[in-house]
């Protein structure tokens, strides 16, 4: 486990801690936890993901080493046994997604972490978790692709894959943090949403966020909101594995509890048994769609930054949004009215917020570390606007888009 440094300047250790520490802290992590809200801790995005997972109640991790996500596995290999949870290093990423899905069906809160090549291998398993409505979380610390690409360099090339990577229509929940603190928070949210909506939730990190160290104050556990799956209250012979009466959020039994349900990746009826009837097949697909689209208010999270008077909007996510904020500060200093709209939930796409943005600004700049992914979603919503008002700023060479790059673009269009 990487060493954790305690920034004593920012948060002088209160005396109270001495007594807590005297009771032989079991690890640095527990040391942090003894008074978390008062301590600034320097940590990596990947560490924040691991701690978020533990705080959300994750008790099962199966994974395979891959740069730049490996620290998540290493920390959980260290921490899960202490809490009676399971850490298992599988033979590949395919086995990893399968093992976490199996564990979840047995009642575990399960998570895996990977990067591009592993994420590609997991796609079939992600589709299986979605069609079987089995909660699990896949953390993808994005690196530059395609293929082996540049393993230690950032890119935002998996945005579309996170939604469309698995074959067939499969509505997705994908979260995208922009800081170490947010990596912690959105990991908890990813686990919570997976439990609530019974699906595979994906957390997209940028390589630089996974490996960047920032000072973070973790909330005390009392202030961490943890959601657990709803358990059935009916007797086993009344149980429907996919209960359509429950507003798309149905209870979930676990193996070994007497419910003896069937799970299949085949199109199935509400009991979980395979079906070839078009009515039942259509119902199943609608159910998968509606449980996302009927809950947009709960799922969508966006940050609107200095948008009140903005004539130019920047739409971007993750690390690129941080460059955008710096660019906005510089541009506003020169009197240019520019703001930022940043999705924390990238899928389902925040259509309403984007429409509102398009109504209020003259120009939208979309910086992204890929050859054009987010911009197409904006284009989809800009039919009544001239395309010249939608400005791409794309880079895929292993380097970040800098505040100056964005500032230059802002000046070009203002």
């Amino acid at each position: 486990m990487p060493k954790k440094e305690i920034n004593s300047k920012a948060a002088p250790k209160p005396k109270k801690d001495q007594t807590t520490l005297a009771v032989k802290p079991e690890s640095k992590l527990e040391e942090i936890q003894s008074s978390r809200e008062r301590k600034n801790v320097l940590m990596q995005g990947n560490e924040a993901v691991a701690y978020g997972a533990l705080d959300a109640g994750v008790n099962f991790f199966a994974g395979y080493p891959i740069t730049p996500s490996t620290e998540v596995a290493e920390i959980l290999a260290n921490e899960l046994p202490k809490r009676g949870g399971v850490f298992i290093q599988m033979e590949d990423e395919i086995a990893s997604i399968c093992a976490i899905t199996g564990a979840s069906l047995a009642g575990a809160k399960a998570l895996t972490a990977t990067s591009g090549p592993g994420f590609s291998l997991m796609q079939e398993g992600i589709g299986f978790a979605k069609i079987t409505e089995t909660p699990c979380v896949v953390v993808n610390v994005q690196r530059m692709g395609p293929s082996t690409g540049m393993p230690t360099s950032p890119a935002q090339g998996d945005i579309m894959q996170a939604k469309w990577g698995s074959h067939g229509d499969s509505p997705a929940i994908v979260l995208y943090p922009a800081s170490v603190k947010e990596s912690y928070e959105l990991t908890i949210r990813a686990v919570n949403l997976s439990e609530k909506y019974r699906t595979c939730v994906i957390l997209l990190l940028d390589e630089v966020i996974g490996h960047m160290r920032e000072a973070v104050r973790l909330p005390d556990m009392a202030n961490v909101r943890v959601i657990n799956r709803i358990k059935p209250t009916v007797p086993p012979n009344w149980y429907k594995h996919y209960d359509e009466n429950q507003k798309y959020l149905s209870p979930l039994a676990s193996y070994g509890e007497g419910y003896r349900f069937h799970v299949t990746g085949l199109t199935h009826d509400s009991h979980g048994f395979p079906t070839n009837k078009s009515g039942e097949a259509g119902d199943m697909m609608e159910r998968l769609r509606k449980k996302i689209s009927y809950n947009m208010r709960d799922l969508v999270q966006i940050e609107s930054y200095q948008m009140e008077d903005a004539k130019i909007a920047i739409f971007t996510a993750g690390i690129t949004a941080r460059a955008a904020k710096a660019a906005i500060a510089m541009a506003r200093h020169e009197g240019i009215k520019v703001g930022l709209l940043r999705p924390l939930t990238i899928w389902p796409f925040p259509d309403d917020a984007v429409r509102k943005m398009l109504r209020n600004v003259e120009t939208v700049i979309v910086p992204e570390l890929n050859q054009g992914q987010l911009i197409h979603e904006i284009q989809r919503l800009t039919k009544d606007k001239s395309e010249s008002n939608l400005i791409p700023l794309q880079r895929v060479n292993g380097q970040l888009i800098t505040p100056n790059d964005i500032l230059r673009k802002i000046k070009e269009v203002s």
């Binding site: 079991e26 199996g102 564990a103 193996y255 069937h262 799970v263 299949t264």
Partner: protein
């Protein structure tokens, strides 16, 4: 129903929901299912504690018919899903039903690593030497020179010896039987279920409709007779001259060793870590 005698299997089937089954007339899968159920019944296992996991293929359709906790997973991945189930709830009896293509082609990696870990999964590999569900393609156990739709001029690849593969990977219980030897199969599966570690039971089975027709095997009864005539029990191997063993199916428990089991080892590790305060 009054005059129809109830059999043990009827207590375990999901008869109200999922019949008729998908298997062809003469298929061995039902024979294997019967043997699995009778082995489970003879051990008085609580069905709430049994999880049956499968992949994709004819044999992998088995879980939907039985009243256990059942998981019909992805092609080749049954052992990986089963590993997740077993590691989270080690008290459950996890049975994996798989086929030759599912387990030794696309799923070969998971097979060897589960065998190496010696995780307590009960793999029952129904080997019919062909991809039946997709219509008769060559599998890793299709014999040399046999005909398949993807080997129309005869298979030029050598076939896997599944039991040797599993033993090479470190499996602690390895057995082989045929669909003809039903009582032997039942007894081996019972032993496999009781074995504390990874077990694999290969059941040589008949696919008369696809493999049988392509290779002129003479229909289901004839294929069964061939299993009877072309197999020898392990105990007889040493007593026979080598030429009489050559080309025969050797039946019986080929390996049974007690070695540390993975989920128990993990449980011990957790206890050790917790006792030492994570040092």
């Amino acid at each position: 129903m009054a005059n129809i005698p109830q059999r043990i299997i009827h207590e375990y089937l999901r008869h109200d929901k999922k019949f008729p089954h998908v298997w062809c007339a003469g298929c061995s899968n039902g024979i294997v299912l019967g043997a699995i159920i009778r082995a489970i019944a003879s051990l008085n296992l609580d069905r709430d504690d049994i999880v049956m996991v499968s992949g994709i293929g004819c044999s992998s359709r088995m879980p939907v018919y039985v009243d256990f906790n059942t998981l019909h997973s992805l092609h080749g991945r049954s052992i990986a899903y089963a590993t997740g189930v077993k590691m989270h709830k080690p008290n459950l009896k996890v049975i994996v039903v798989t086929g030759d293509g599912d387990c030794t082609a696309i799923g070969g990696n998971h097979l060897i690593h589960a065998a190496r870990r010696n995780i307590d999964l009960k793999v029952i590999l129904i080997n019919n030497n062909i991809y039946g569900m997709t219509g008769g393609q060559c599998s890793p156990t299709t014999p040399h020179d046999a005909i398949a739709t993807t080997a129309p001029y005869g298979n030029i690849e050598p076939d896997f010896n599944v039991c040797n593969l599993a033993m090479g990977a470190g499996a602690s219980f390895v057995a082989r039987t045929t669909a003809f030897h039903v009582l032997e199969m039942q007894s081996i599966i019972k032993d496999a279920l009781e074995h504390p570690g990874f077990s694999i039971t290969e059941v040589i089975s008949a696919c008369p409709v696809i493999y049988g027709r392509l290779n002129k095997k003479g229909g289901a009864p004839q294929m069964m007779k061939d299993f009877r005539d072309n197999s020898i029990p392990l105990a007889a191997v040493d007593k026979l001259p080598p030429e009489k063993v050559e080309g025969k199916i050797v039946r019986g428990i080929l390996r049974r060793e007690i070695r540390p089991e993975y989920s128990s080892e993990y449980t011990s590790l957790v206890k050790r870590v917790q006792a030492s305060g994570g040092e």
